[in-house]
């Protein structure tokens, strides 16, 4: 999902990119807690009666469930902010706060939408400058990535019209 903010203090145009997610962290945690509770309540009498080998399998499995959900949640909560200022483009990436940050001179920036040479994978959107490239919007769906490429191109050319 792409949200656009116009004319903030630092940025002329600010693109906030997020993947689609249908459940929040908290709801995922509640789900996992419920699953753990059901599983552990189910096996507790068995463990109490001495059939303890059930416990490590349950623990391992719940760890795997937790790891799987954590990985998906992390991917779903990834956020990228592309701030286009008068003379620079600042790209920040992170979940709760900026984890990575790049600043590119606006005058030298190029937007490249590259179709993957392997047909298996989706296209890649890159912002190039001085031989360096930063990929943005990896988690976007194809249509959104194309739209973002167009918007950024127009924006860098100074052709963006506010709605």
């Amino acid at each position: 999902m792409i949200a656009i903010e116009y004319g903030t203090k630092e940025c002329q145009f600010c693109y906030v990119l997020r993947p689609n997610r249908s459940l929040s962290w908290r709801q995922n945690l509640w789900f996992l807690a419920g699953l753990c509770a059901v599983t552990l309540i189910g096996i507790a009498p068995l463990v109490a009666m001495g059939f303890w080998p059930v416990l490590p399998f349950a623990g391992l499995e719940l760890l795997l469930v937790g790891a799987g959900l954590y990985r998906v949640m992390c991917r779903c909560h990834e956020c990228e902010v592309i701030c286009v200022a008068a003379d620079s483009i600042r790209i920040e990436r992170g979940r709760r706060g900026p984890r990575q940050r790049w600043v590119i001179g606006r005058a030298w920036a190029q937007v490249v939408l590259r179709a993957c040479p392997h047909r298996w994978y989706p296209s890649r959107l890159l912002i190039h400058a001085h031989g360096h490239a930063v990929e943005v919007g990896r988690f976007l769906v194809e249509e959104e990535r194309k739209k973002l490429a167009q918007d950024l191109t127009h924006c860098l050319r100074g052709q963006v019209f506010e709605p």
Binding site: M1, N20, R21, S22, L23, Q27, N28, F31, L35, V38, T39, G42, I43, L46, M49, G50, F51, P53, V54, L55, P56, F57, A58, L60, E61, L62, L64, V65, G68, L69, R71, V72, M73, C76, R106, A107, W108, A109, Q110, V111, V112, L113, A115, C116, P117, H118, R119, W120, Y121, P122, V141, E142, E143, E144, A149, Q150, L152, T153, L156, R157
Partner: protein, 530 residues
């Protein structure tokens, strides 16, 4: 200076339909949900024929009294392997395959949430079943103590024993990974606007099934590991001589085993809830009650396990509890049957092959449900326990129940998957031969059981001959009619009349908004949910 360049390739110019790579590596390395769904479904079809062949060996031996074809030990290996192959190799993978194909398309997700794990969870299966089936060639043969692996009998298995346990662990690991993927996908990747109570019933039933799978699989893993340590490491979990309790294995096994039964039937409920509204041209009657009924069945499945073992010598209070709890399951199940019938009531029904299988499911599954109610009554169960009545009951639930629903699903979604219509006439022949065959096969087994014929015997008393002959004729009729199904599926994959995108006039759901066949990557644009 700012410029933009768009490096398009040929595929991108054609609506981003990145086709799949070709060759064997496509299938080995694939992380695409459609490819993995196809692999699961083909694997399950193969296992259906392997397990079916074992069933035909059993039925051929039972055609007449006396020992004609196989020796008793091999007969017992066949009954054990038939069950393991059909449950873990045919029915469960078929449902996982359907989930892989359909869940992302139904909820508007581009793929499963954990695609690499999805690849692993499939590719464990062929190795697990190669291991399991290879035990038939080991000294002492394969496992012969029944799929429930009751000790101390199962501990008499020859060299095959550790291989069987490892194979069961691998199947369990595969199921768990599949379940985690389905849960993560359904919870996190629903399209904007797709709230839980807007999800198709198939998605709902799979969410609950995956929850059940995760809750009970460690119990299976733990119990078979304890068998292993009892056999090889001198522990006495189930060895009465060392202070253990073999009956506790039955409790532990069925604490897994009964939810497992629902793991095999809840997705079938979801499929039928998708098909009947399409061909009745009416929305599903009582959607919310269907969801709550599914959840209730799942909950009750945890507290009824001991109805499988009424005769082990339980306290009366325990028998009463498990009897009434089991009977209670009839209530949400009845809600479902009522809702399916109400959906059909005054609908503009047509009877294409998927609908025929769905109607047969409703009727024949209900027969299996009623015989289940008879078995739920503890005093009556003392008579029925370990007779052919039990065999008839669970086969009515699993064959015209789970298997028919899978066939209905295959006919229903095959045009969407392949882009070709299946041969309707062949489908109808398949349906009628299967339905007549399955009833000739299993209905007489009720009478055999009521007359006292025990299950898992290769020879029997003369008075059981006629019903056994009927049953065997039905088995071969049902078995060979499945070749029509395989032929129809292959024929449809290879070509046929072009299917439209919607395929069925009354169909409703996101998957029908896609092309037939759908592009390799679908919903790269999130759909809009009304």
């Amino acid at each position: 200076m700012s410029t933009a360049s768009h490096a398009h390739d040929h595929a991108e110019d054609h609506g981003h339909d990145h086709g799949p790579p070709r060759g064997l590596t496509r299938w080995i390395y694939t992380t695409n949900h459609k490819d993995i769904g196809t692999l699961y479904l083909l694997f399950s079809l193969l296992m259906f024929f392997v397990g079916g062949s074992m069933a035909l060996v059993i039925r051929a031996e039972l055609f007449q009294p006396g020992l004609q074809i196989v020796n008793p030990d091999f007969f017992n290996q066949m009954t054990t392997m038939h069950a393991l192959v059909m449950i873990f190799g045919a029915v469960m993978p078929a449902f996982v395959g359907l989930a892989n194909w359909l869940v992302p398309m139904m909820i508007g997700a581009p793929d499963m949430a954990l695609p690499r794990m999805n690849n692993w969870s499939f590719w464990i299966m062929p190795f697990a079943f190669t291991l399991l089936l290879s035990t038939l060639f080991l000294p002492g043969g394969g496992p012969a103590g029944g799929w429930t692996l009751y000790p101390p009998l199962v501990l008499q298995t020859g060299d095959a024993f550790p291989f069987v346990i490892l194979a069961v662990h691998m199947m369990g690991a595969s199921s768990i990974m599949g379940a985690i993927n389905i849960i993560a996908t359904i919870l996190n990747l629903r399209a904007p606007g797709m709230t839980l109570m807007k999800m198709p019933m198939f998605v709902w039933t799979w969410l609950i099934t995956a929850y059940l799978l995760i809750a009970v699989m460690p119990v299976l893993a733990g119990s078979v590991t304890m068998l292993l340590t009892d056999k090889f490491f001198g522990t006495s979990f189930f060895n009465a001589g060392g202070g253990g309790d073999p009956v506790m294995f039955q409790h532990i096994f069925w604490f897994f085993g009964h939810p497992e039964v629902y793991i095999m039937i809840l997705p079938a409920f979801g499929i039928i809830s998708m098909i009947i509204p399409t061909f009745a041209r009416k929305p599903l009657f009582g959607y919310a009650s269907m969801v709550y009924a599914t959840a209730s069945i799942a909950f009750l499945s945890f507290i009824v396990w001991a109805h499988h073992m009424f005769t082990v010598g339980m306290p009366l209070a325990g028998e009463l509890f498990f009897m009434y709890a089991t009977m209670l399951i009839a209530v949400p199940t009845g809600v479902k049957v009522f809702n399916w019938i109400s959906t059909m009531w005054r609908g503009a029904m047509t009877f294409e092959t998927p609908m025929l299988f769905a109607i047969a499911f409703v009727v024949l599954f209900t027969i299996g449900g009623f015989s289940g109610l008879m078995l739920a009554m503890a005093p009556a169960d003392f008579q029925y326990q370990d007779t052919y009545f039990v065999v008839a009951h669970f086969h009515y639930v699993l064959v015209p129940g789970a298997v028919f629903s899978i066939m209905a699903a295959a006919y229903y979604w095959l045009p969407k998957w392949t882009g070709h219509m299946y041969d309707e006439k062949l489908g109808q022949w398949h349906f009628w031969l299967s339905t007549i065959g399955v009833n000739v096969l299993f209905f007489p087994q009720h009478f055999l059981g009521l007359a006292g014929m025990p299950r898992r015997i290769p020879d029997y008393a003369l008075q059981f001959t006629e019903f056994n002959m009927m049953s065997t004729v039905g088995a071969f009729m049902f078995g060979f009619s499945q070749l029509l199904f395989a032929y129809n599926v292959i024929k449809t994959i290879r070509g046929g009349a072009k299917a439209t995108d919607k395929v069925w006039e009354g169909a409703d759901g996101l998957e029908w908004t896609l092309s037939s066949p759908p592009a390799y990557h679908t919903f790269t644009t999130a759909p809009e949910i009304r």
